[in-house]
Amino acid sequence: MSNNAFLEPGGDEPVQLNEKLLHAAVKLNTLLLAAVFGSVSGLAMFVLTYLSLYRGLPKPGQFLNLLGVFLPGYSVSHAGAWVGLFWGALIGALLAAMFYRIYARSIASQVQDYLRSGGSKDDLMGVTLRFDGNYLGLALGTIIAGGLFITTSWLVFRGTAEESVNAVLLSQYLPGYTVSMPGALIGAIELFCVVYMLCQLFSWIYNSVARFRGRKPR
């Protein structure tokens, strides 16, 4: 029996999920999520840059300028806002695609739950999305913890670990975190656990509210 085949309770023959359809559905949602997040994060970078430029700290761009360490060409300036728009859109889209690729593993189990419950009479477009806390935590935790590990490693490899006085303040929240390779690993593991727990809470709130509003989550 393949990964996407399963037995229904009381059934003797395995139900095989249509791999092609499943793959196409995952691909579609990956593209749509990448488009949505790419647009939102690109615009957010653009707006944040201008906010910092015109209404920022006593010294405009004091901290936002530090993003230039990770995003080549970025600075808090008019030209930098467009560079930020580009990097924000690109990174937002890539991270969203990676996120959905991991989260999509929950689709097969959602389909199995649906079939085990005997299906429903819901209209195809009338179904409300249900979040799976475990897969959400796994996907978001991996992306965010991986992001911390990569950015810290970058600071170490470019030889500015000693000067990274702002990054090291993360140790206030992640005990044991330092701007070093072992510190990055410890910080990433801790951050994964924190994000995983927050995702469990997030899913519970979302699913509860959706259920309360009278739409059966699926």
């Binding site: 995952v26 689709i107 809470l201």
Partner: protein
């Protein structure tokens, strides 16, 4: 067996095209953002500042964008309220965009299939 396969196909499409509950996402994102700021403030207050730093010197800069916010218990609560609304707006927009892109995609499919049917006739 065929009906089971049909059901499985329908279930895959339902999972792919399930729409987000806009209000639920707004409430959930807002609550998590509020909790994060409240915890971030509380941890600093409980642990104190590292040597050579004032308590929450960086986090307090949020006060420039969120009038009244400070790294204090009262400020943490006020910041949580601000973050709840900001998170709720973010969640609301994300859910709207997610649903809208799916509707647009379905509309494109329907229009394309109608077009090809028309051309075939």
């Amino acid at each position: 067996m065929t009906s089971k396969t049909d059901s499985a196909d329908k279930a895959i499409l339902m999972a792919a095209f399930a729409k987000m509950d806009v209000v639920a996402l707004a409430v959930a994102v807002g609550s998590i953002w509020a909790l994060i700021l409240l915890l971030a403030t509380a941890i600093l207050l409980l642990k104190g500042a590292p040597e050579g730093h004032e308590i929450g010197g960086h986090l307090e800069l949020l006060g420039i964008y969120l009038p009244g916010y400070r790294v204090s218990w009262g400020g943490g609560l006020l910041g949580a309220v601000y973050f709840w609304f900001l998170g709720a707006i973010t969640g609301f927009i994300l859910a709207l965009l997610w649903n809208m892109t799916h509707y647009l995609y379905v509309i494109v499919i329907v229009v394309r299939s109608a077009w090809w049917r028309l051309m075939a006739e």
